[in-house]
Amino acid sequence: MGGTFVITLREAFEAALLLGIVYTYLDKVGRPDQFHYVTRGALLGVAASILLGVAVTVLSGPLLDLGPDLIGVGVLLVAVVLLTWHGWWMRQHARAVKGDVQRRLDEASATRRFWIVALIAFTGVFREGAETVLFVWGLLAQASVSGIGAAAGALLGIVGAAALGWAVFRGGKRVSLPKFFAVTSVLLLLVAGGLLSTAVGKLQGLGVLPITSVVWDTSSLLDDRGLVGEFLGGLVGYRAKPSLLEMLAYVGYLVVAGALVFGDVVGRKRDRGPAPPSAVLTGEDKEVVTAR
């Protein structure tokens, strides 16, 4: 039972983290009334996971051999784009807002924003969703006492991941808006970089991209098969034995997306020297804005 608990906890952890972040994001910008976008995105993700799970057990031949892998890579790449977009938008938003977040969000562009958030929820859930469905289904199909116990452990793992997402939400509510934007835009970039290098690795495993040499081997220090290594892998894309291409994708992504999202910070410092001390504002919805 413990083993299955860890497996689903691990698979659902990333989805829970992303859901926690996007719910908090909506709460932070004063639009908890739009939570339903995230909820629907997540529910659609669950539905799509079940559909794919069913499809995999029904299909055979090349559709089964390659189909799920191509969908998997596609979902990864879409998630990378969405997270980058979201990080970029949060930075724009943080820069533009001069106090009243609510009013800014009432702009027409806000609706599009909610769709992105819904899609992030969808891809977050769908990414490992079908795998989790098949795993739990397989356990239930065994119809033995140990199978039921294992399935109970697996479901508890999902509940545990949901609790982690909830903790992110509760914790996120407490930190100030600028801090939340700053921390999550960095975290989302690292997550997206990890997803991109995972996609590159999968394409190498599929033979689409050439196999490249292993750049380093830290498996004796921190094995990516162990619990901590696996979680770090899901969070920031840690690999004990990264291939050259994976590493280049990761670093390249961080440089390009980092310049895209944080370029203004660096540019401003270079143009005007160190940023002046921030004016401290009070109130939940106040953004701390440096003079521009």
């Binding site: 892998d69 790449l77 065994q142 689409v208 034995k241």
Partner: protein, 114 residues
């Protein structure tokens, strides 16, 4: 570089990488691997280094299993009663471990390329 053009690079680059996926496959050696009672049979596979091959994995177990090799970057769920063909790219000589992720304690094996 403007922010907009940088942004389109971020979007387009991953899609371009997917393009070669259409590449056709040549007939390659097939190697059978069976999953039964949460174990792989055989648990050691010998292949020629530098030659791609196909793993034909049949799951005779009662539940789904996930063939996973961190080193080969392969993760593949095989539902109970199903057979899956996995193309494996040419490997450098060496030993590559794999596990059944759902039963890591018992389902272990390795591919030896030489």
């Amino acid at each position: 570089m403007t922010r907009r053009s940088a942004f389109s690079i971020v979007i387009v680059a991953p899609l371009v990488m997917l393009a070669p996926a259409a590449r056709g496959a040549r007939a390659a050696t097939e190697i059978a691997l069976t999953i039964e009672q949460n174990r792989f049979q055989p648990d050691e596979i010998k292949v020629k280094a530098g030659v791609p091959f196909v793993l034909v994995i049949t799951n005779n177990g009662k539940g789904a299993e996930e063939f996973e090799s961190k080193e080969l970057r392969i993760e593949k769920v095989i539902p109970a009663g199903k057979t899956v063909k996995l193309k494996v790219p040419a490997l450098k000589s060496g030993t590559y471990g794999f596990v059944g992720e759902y039963h890591e304690k018992t389902a272990k094996g390795r591919i030896v390329a030489e």
